[in-house]
């Protein structure tokens, strides 16, 4: 069937087999997860709407959209998308690097190393599946603070703080702080 569909010019056809019955009676979470990931990927790859009916987007939504793009670029190790999420004068505290990275030259040098580590031997995106938890945003005019957790390492709590500034080209990251503490603390 897949072959027939491809012959009929299906683009981007994906097939996922799930061991359950016709109603997905015992795999509902798996089903939802598959569809949500697919929709997230689809949305990230769709052009922004320019509909005249478009209603004003709240700053909170704008910030979350900017963060989503940033995370999507990081998942895919999309260097251009990733680096353009930052302002030129951004500062970064990254857990693998003790010193603060000051400005584009320094944080790009830092993250190029990180990209190489993550990429490993893989050749195709996505390379990661970053799932922010407990995301909170605070908006102070043209400045936004986003905080969230990541739980990628058992026994540890990863915390992220991202400060963004609204510019003429959208919300840009002006500071990123990554830290990790033992979960029992």
């Amino acid at each position: 069937m897949a072959s027939a569909l491809r012959q009929k010019s299906a683009i981007g056809l994906e097939q996922i087999a799930v061991p359950t019955d016709h109603s997905f009676s015992d795999q509902r979470i798996a089903l939802q997860s598959i569809v949500i990931r697919w929709l997230d990927k689809l949305r990230a790859n769709s052009p922004a709407s320019t509909s005249p009916q478009e209603q004003p987007v709240s700053p909170d939504s704008e910030v979350r959209e900017a963060l989503a793009k940033f995370i999507h670029a990081f998942d895919d190790l999309d260097w251009e998308g990733f680096r353009l999420a930052f302002a030129d004068d951004a500062t970064v505290f990254y857990r693998a690097f003790p010193e603060r990275a000051n400005g584009r030259t320094e944080f790009e040098k830092t993250f190029k190393t990180v990209f190489e580590q993550i990429r490993g031997g893989k050749t195709a995106a996505p390379y990661m599946d970053i799932q922010p938890k407990n995301m909170d945003t605070q908006i102070f005019g043209d400045v936004a603070v986003a905080t969230f957790h990541l739980d990628d390492r058992t026994g540890f709590l990863n915390r992220r703080t991202i400060v963004l500034n609204k510019t003429v080209s959208g919300w840009k990251i002006v500071h990123l702080h990554a830290s990790e503490i033992p979960a029992s603390r």
């Binding site: 929709l39 790859n45 769709s46």
Partner: protein
């Protein structure tokens, strides 16, 4: 054209390693936040539920729209349900809404008290009318919807319907067919057709229409072959099949997903 086959990580284990940023390896994916947690509520544009009817060939279809939080405009996912429609994938709808999409569900003509008679053809027509409703500029503005981002996710018979609609409407952005029934194949196989009709006849009390011996005629424009739909070449995926007649003995069901080519990023409205 590009295509790929992917398999979920369900039931598989992988050694976790830290990537530096704080992600999991893709093969050991975590459950997406939208499945298990509510997004922050946008107080100016909170999530909501809109109930209405969609006119279709002289009948008002019962429909309801889960509105996502946020000013939008949001993409819309239409969820055509299967037969007889006990399973409406409501949990899937809620997760999709939490992920920032509006989600529209509806009943076909002749089902669940909706007027008219049910048939393959009428369900296809109804779905097209629902698509038209979502695209209507007035409705798009009213429900904070981006009419250009329209996705169909159908289950079972609804998977067939979703595939058919997408194959005939090149502006449908994507289609997912969950355990879709291949009516084309059933039509082409007298024994399977007979088996299906016998089983469905005892299950379809909420469905009103012609006798179910008449349920499986081939609608015009459909082909007898397994892939069934003969839409324009650029149109979406036609139809996927996952089934054999004996549901309980079928170990693997398939979820077919299709989306159009990659484009620039646009949004995350949670």
């Amino acid at each position: 054209m590009s295509s790929s086959v992917i398999t979920t990580a369900v039931g598989r284990t992988h050694a976790a390693h830290s990537t530096g940023y704080g992600s999991r390896p893709l093969a050991a994916q975590t459950t997406p936040a939208a499945v298990v947690a509510d997004p922050p509520v946008d107080r100016q544009s909170p999530p909501g539920l809109a109930m209405f009817t969609v006119p279709s060939h002289g009948v008002d279809l019962d429909a309801w729209l889960y509105l996502a939080s946020g000013a939008g405009p949001h993409g819309t996912v239409i969820l055509p349900h299967g037969l007889p429609g006990y399973e409406t994938s409501g949990d899937l709808a809620q997760s999709i809404r939490r992920a920032g999409w509006n989600v529209l569900l509806f009943h076909y003509r002749g089902t669940w008290g909706v007027g008219g008679a049910f048939s393959q053809s009428s369900a296809i027509e109804d779905t097209a009318e629902v698509v038209r409703f979502v695209r209507d500029p007035a409705n798009a503005a009213k429900y904070r919807t981006d009419p250009k981002r329209l996705v169909l996710v159908g289950h079972s018979f609804g998977g067939f319907i979703a595939g058919y609609e997408a194959s005939h409407d090149p502006d449908i952005k994507a289609v997912a067919m969950i355990a879709a029934v291949n009516l084309g194949r059933i039509n082409a196989d007298p024994k399977e057709r007979e088996d299906r009709l016998k089983r469905w006849e005892t299950q379809l009390h909420p469905v009103r229409g012609p006798r179910f011996q008449n349920f499986l005629p081939r609608p015009s424009g459909m082909r007898k072959t397994g892939t069934t739909c003969s839409g324009r070449r650029r149109s979406a995926l036609a139809l996927c099949c996952s089934s054999k007649p004996k549901i309980k003995t079928m170990p693997i069901w398939k979820l077919w997903l299709r989306h159009c080519g990659r484009r620039a990023p646009s949004g995350w409205n949670r």
